[in-house]
Symmetry: C2
Subunit: 237 residues, 2 copies
């Protein structure tokens, strides 16, 4: 693993501290599956890999602990958080509620231009070319949901939902491989869109809740996939 040494070189226009850059880099690796739940994060190794001292690494890791992505076991090392079953279910339950709330508020508050943006996002999701490519669909799906977040006109809610979604992302990967996932998702999107378009708060909320909860596959299927992933039921927090 000799690559990605000094990934911290990019500078857009903002000046960011090494700690922040480290935090983002680790976060991304965790979310995108480069670092799997349970993987050990060795301070010295990371310090060497990124060419910085241990302090920024300590601080970055501590911040990730606060946001729940990693856990430190005293004198045992720091590891990518591995959330147990029960908590995973609990988190999805909350995620569904937040998404549902976004939908309800969006149905009530969406503005004409936002509605058109949402419609455009829906159309892109329904494009056969997009549907056939998992990466493309993943991106457009995110866009669709982002539109709903924006339309909820509650930026705090949006950021909370986004944060929780990120935290769940390492485990959501498992769902996407289910058969017919995409086509099911698309038809759910259409129902969600129509509910929002017509201002049906309750229906938008319900549709979104289900969209998150069952994610087009039976929940037991999902559970068994998670089980197969090798979790027992410990840690996190």
């Amino acid at each position: 693993m000799t690559k990605s040494v000094l990934k911290l070189s990019r500078e857009t226009t903002m000046k960011r501290s090494n700690t922040q850059k480290l935090k983002d880099a680790l976060e991304e690796d965790i979310i995108n599956g480069q670092l799997l739940p349970g993987a050990k994060l060795d301070h010295d190794a990371l310090a060497a890999k990124y060419g910085v001292s241990r302090t920024p690494i300590r601080e970055a890791i501590q911040q990730l602990v606060v946001s729940g992505l990693v856990t430190v076991k005293a004198k045992k090392g720091t590891f990518v958080a591995k959330v147990g079953f029960d908590q995973l279910i609990e988190m999805f339950e909350v995620m569904a509620e937040l998404e549902g709330m976004c939908g309800r508020l969006a149905a009530r508050r969406i503005q004409p231009d936002e509605l058109e943006a949402l419609r455009a996002a829906l159309y892109r999701c329904e494009d056969p070319d997009v549907m056939s490519d998992p990466d493309d669909y993943y991106y457009e799906n995110e866009e669709f949901h982002s539109c709903i977040y924006a339309a909820s006109h509650n930026s705090f809610l949006a950021s909370e939902a986004r944060q929780l979604k990120q935290r769940l992302k390492p485990y959501r990967r498992l769902q996407l491989q289910t058969r017919n996932r995409v086509s099911t998702s698309v038809s759910e999107h259409r129902r969600i869109f129509e509910a929002i378009e017509k201002g049906k708060e309750f229906e938008a909320e319900q549709q979104l809740k289900e969209h998150v909860l069952i994610q087009g596959t039976r929940f037991s299927d999902f559970m068994s996939q998670v089980k197969a992933f090798g979790h027992t039921s410990q840690d996190a927090s």
Copy 2:
């Protein structure tokens, strides 16, 4: 301000790092109003006050930034987060949703012993002696809501709700001084309890949402009080 030097002496049974103790101490000061929103947190001053070096303070502050209680303005200093109006409203909106969700789940999942605990908490809230003392009532009120959290059987939800409540606490203080607050709150509690007892999910959810949102006082009253507190509409995040 010579007091509280080395508040970090208490040891229950756990060993906690200075950073963690600092974080808790600052958190508590912020939540309990010792440190008002907008107050400056001087690293050196804190280092002197608590008798530690600057590093634990740095780290504690960084963690508080992640959880949203403080903000750092580049090269200007770090300050207790002062959330603006709009975001305050947004946060209350989310808080209401989470509380409502707790109530809904509790109505569906509460166990006999939990129901009795909730009933007992309700009775304590209704005790005239308790109602007459703001501090007592505050405590018992917290207990009542804690029972609902527990009965939701979703510990993740409970911790998220608790965290958000803490973050709002500096501003909730303003509500408690409203006339008839306690007696209104108590009767709301009874309605909430009855809804949960009878398993009426929807009603429990609605009651709790309103309980949080209007908090017995008209929202505009609350808003004007907040305004009087001296916020304009900046920072946070």
